[in-house]
């Protein structure tokens, strides 16, 4: 469990399309490097964020023009990356560009992971927690 007050480190919205996966990954890594000394953890975050953003774009069932909202919060000893989509929950797709590997990868590299539906504003949110090691 997290303890202490959270600090919002980053918040931005991205178009819900495949091009945003890379942009989200890049932006989150910039913030992660400001807060986390362990490069291995930064790389875990990079991979997990890529999987979460891909899931939102591919499985999120978002309406036309929907956005992905990315937030990063830090607590005493953890960083939480939140990817929220304006879809209606995740459903499997027969033509998925994954092998159902996204969620297992995210849960393996993160300290823990939560899917919140509905979250803020009715969005589907993926919360991924990572150990915070200051520079």
């Amino acid at each position: 469990m997290t303890s202490g007050a959270s600090v919002e480190r980053y918040r931005a919205e991205f178009p819900n399309d495949v091009a945003s996966v890379r942009a989200i990954r890049d932006q989150v890594v910039v913030v992660a490097r400001e807060c986390i000394a362990e490069e291995a953890t930064v790389q875990d975050i990079r991979l997990a964020v890529s999987e979460a953003a891909t899931n939102s774009v591919v499985h999120g069932r978002a309406p036309e023009g929907a956005l992905l909202v990315v937030r990063i919060e830090t607590f005493d000893a953890e960083m939480c990356v939140i990817i929220a989509d304006q879809g209606h929950g995740m459903l499997p797709r027969h033509d998925s560009p994954g092998l159902g590997l996204g969620l297992p990868i995210m849960s393996t590299v993160a300290s823990r992971m939560e899917v919140v539906s509905p979250g803020v504003d009715g969005n589907t949110e993926v919360h991924m927690y990572f150990p915070l090691t200051t520079n």
């Binding site: 931005a12 991205f14 996966v21 942009a23 990954r25 890049d26 990079r46 994954g98 590997l101 393996t108």
Partner: protein, 110 residues
Amino acid sequence: MTQSGEPVGDQFVVRRVDSGREVLLELTGELDVAGIPRLSEAAGRLPAHGHVTIDLSQLSFMDSSGIRMLMSLDLRSRAEHWTLTLHAPQPQVLNVLKLCGFEDRFEITP
């Protein structure tokens, strides 16, 4: 504030070199869901009884979208009677293969 979808770093690029029944696919940059159509197109028709090398030495990042593509090529190689080698994966790419339990499925050369 809505951010653009423009990436900060290198774009994903695939280059195909054909030499008889030898095909080299050189992947550069970062491979995610956005790059899959380009890789699928480059790997469209591959020679029966030939050999395909995927050079991963310049690929700095790959997620499970890339894993699925590699698995698809592996299945095709068996059905279409050609062989497949992955060459020089960087640590991040090798790590994803291991995370998914697929590192032993491929012939990997240093």
